[in-house]
């Protein structure tokens, strides 16, 4: 009987040992898995505000008549302009400028001759019309008034 009891004790011991090993394995495994998913948790840094959540922006979102991603005015020809005029340079280079039809055409020719712009075909008229309509030349005279002054109090 005692021999049988000894055997049972032995089995229990082995069983407990195996359970312990198994639990350790599970714990180590989960730690490693967590590390794999989030490699940063072992780096003890204050990560508050380290990263700004990336907001998803709808590529074609239009708000208040402006195409949000590029800043272009939403009007006839918008997508043709986006597709042809924002591959090499920023849309900001377009919206900063004010030119006549003739000068936009000359600028397009210059970009084709020196900057690798492709032939625009029928799109050229659509693009130039969009630009002169939505970004017209304004006569500024020989010197403009100061505008957009932000007034503030100054101790003199």
């Amino acid at each position: 009987m005692s021999k049988h009891q000894d055997f049972r004790k032995g089995v229990k011991k082995v069983y407990h040992l195996m359970m312990l090993l198994f639990s350790l394995f599970i714990i180590a495994g989960s730690v490693l898995f967590y590390y794999m998913v989030n490699p940063n948790f072992l780096t003890f840094t204050d990560d508050t505000e380290n990263y700004i959540a990336v907001e998803e922006i709808d590529e074609d979102l239009i708000e208040n008549g402006v195409h949000v991603r590029t800043g272009f005015v939403d009007a006839e020809g918008l997508m043709t302009v986006i597709n042809n005029c924002t591959n090499c340079h920023s849309s900001k280079l377009v919206t900063q400028n004010r030119m006549s039809k003739e000068r936009w055409n000359a600028t397009i020719k210059w970009m084709q001759e020196t900057q690798g712009l492709w032939e625009l075909g029928g799109n050229q008229e659509i693009i130039v019309n969009y630009l002169v309509t939505n970004y017209p030349v304004v006569d500024k005279g020989r010197r403009e008034n100061l505008t957009n002054i932000e007034w503030y109090d100054l101790e003199n």
């Binding site: 380290n50 990336v54 920023s90 280079l93 690798g116 005279g141 020989r142 010197r143 100061l146």
Partner: protein, 406 residues
């Protein structure tokens, strides 16, 4: 898993997809650091710029200061304008960086490592004014094509390096040398490796000046990447495009350098004055050399409302290309009367000069304080726009600030 961590992880893997390679140690990337390959759109963090700087263009990067940001005597990096023609070079390795002197008029083509440049030649430090040729373009009428700079495309930092002259002479300059042209490692917007975004230069007389440097330090530190790390040509007083960034080759030419933006209408103005909007043939356009006399009121910021009775202290900087500023004046009555400001001597040739004045206002109301500098050849800044030119260069019209007295 925290949302932030998830977003970061997701961002890293999408970055990897875009770049086409895994970002090793990506998870240890520093806050504020963005892989250059993306030309990330937070320029203020990426370039260490003041939040009040104005982004004119993000591909290529073009960013300008505002007048009140330029109040420092020596402009710090955070307030220096950025003017790029192409994309910022990628994967710069300082250890293998070399500078080659070649061209038709070099006696013997030579290549130097950065370490050789630093040890072989004597080093010099100068404070040098660099102004974009198109600074002030936004005011031209009819408008001129290009980045619409207002007043902030100018800075005066301290540059340390070796004299271009010493390096050119070490390689040997033939008697027929006319011009130097620089070549750089920046990338054309089309990513066509055959095209150079910009390759300008200067005549020998400018190239051989004491103050024309091959610089490797700005304000005592390595030059920031966006300003030309690890080697920049610096030629104060001339359009800043002469001061080529990321320079790895300089050609001594036996003719006027014909690199990108040297020919056609780039950095050129009509040889003879033209009416606003007039067409000018390429052959009638002449290369800009020294920049004209100019000044900026950097304190106070435009829009100050002050109390009647006490004077208003104003200050700023003035510069005159190759020349010095001999007189500085201000007017509060749109040029009807002018009063003199005190003006300091430049710390060295081609450095800007500092002026200050104490302004009294006769009664309450709206005023504009206009500033006018005069150079040593007695040429002053115009109050109206100077001669119209097709590309909108060289606007040195007087700067002004608005003031209200209550």
């Amino acid at each position: 898993m925290k949302r932030r961590d998830f977003v970061k992880k997701a961002t890293l893997s999408s970055l990897a997809t875009i770049i086409g390679a895994e970002i090793v140690f990506g998870s240890n990337m520093l806050e504020g650091y963005n892989p250059l390959a993306l030309q990330d759109p937070d320029p203020f963090k990426m370039f260490n710029k003041n939040k009040e700087m104005i982004v004119l263009n993000d591909k290529p990067w073009n960013i300008e200061a505002q007048a009140h940001l330029l109040d420092d005597i020596i402009t710090p990096n955070s307030k220096m304008f950025i003017r790029n023609n192409g994309l910022i070079p990628e994967g710069i390795d300082v250890k293998s960086w070399t500078l080659t002197i070649d061209g038709e008029s070099v006696k013997k083509q030579k290549t130097y490592t950065l370490a050789e440049l630093k040890s072989k030649f004597q080093q010099h430090t100068y404070q040098l004014t660099l102004e974009c040729g198109g600074n002030g373009r936004s005011e031209f009428n009819p408008p001129a094509k290009g980045n619409q700079w207002t007043v902030g495309a100018v800075h005066c930092a301290t540059w340390t390096g070796v004299r271009l002259r010493d390096v050119l002479e070490d390689a040997g300059i033939k008697k027929d040398a006319v011009y130097i042209g620089y070549h750089s490692t920046d990338i054309h917007l089309s990513r066509n490796p055959e095209k150079e975004p910009i390759s300008r230069g200067a005549p020998m007389i400018k190239s051989l000046q004491d103050e024309t440097l091959l610089a490797f330090k700005m304000n005592g530190k390595d030059i920031p990447l966006v300003h030309g790390y690890p080697l920049r040509l610096v030629a104060g007083g001339w359009p800043a495009s002469v001061s080529g960034k990321w320079v790895n080759r300089i050609s001594i030419r036996n003719k006027i350098h014909d690199g990108t933006k040297m020919t056609g209408t780039a950095y050129r103005v009509p040889c003879e004055p033209v009416a606003p909007g007039e067409k000018v043939k390429d052959e009638d356009m002449c290369i800009i050399e020294s920049m004209p006399v100019k000044s900026l009121i950097t304190y106070p910021k435009s829009g100050a409302t002050i109390k009647k009775g006490a004077p208003l202290k104003i200050r700023g900087h003035a510069w005159a290309g190759e020349l010095k500023v001999s007189k500085m004046e201000y007017s509060i009555d749109f040029g009807a009367t002018w009063k003199e400001c005190s003006i300091e001597k430049p710390v060295n040739r081609l450095a800007w000069q500092h002026f200050s004045a104490s302004v009294d206002f006769p009664k309450k109301g709206y005023y504009e304080v206009w500033a006018k500098a005069t150079d040593t050849q007695n040429i002053a800044q115009p109050m109206l726009l100077p001669g119209w030119n097709p590309k909108g260069y060289l606007n040195n019209a007087c700067h002004r600030i608005a003031v209200k007295v209550k």
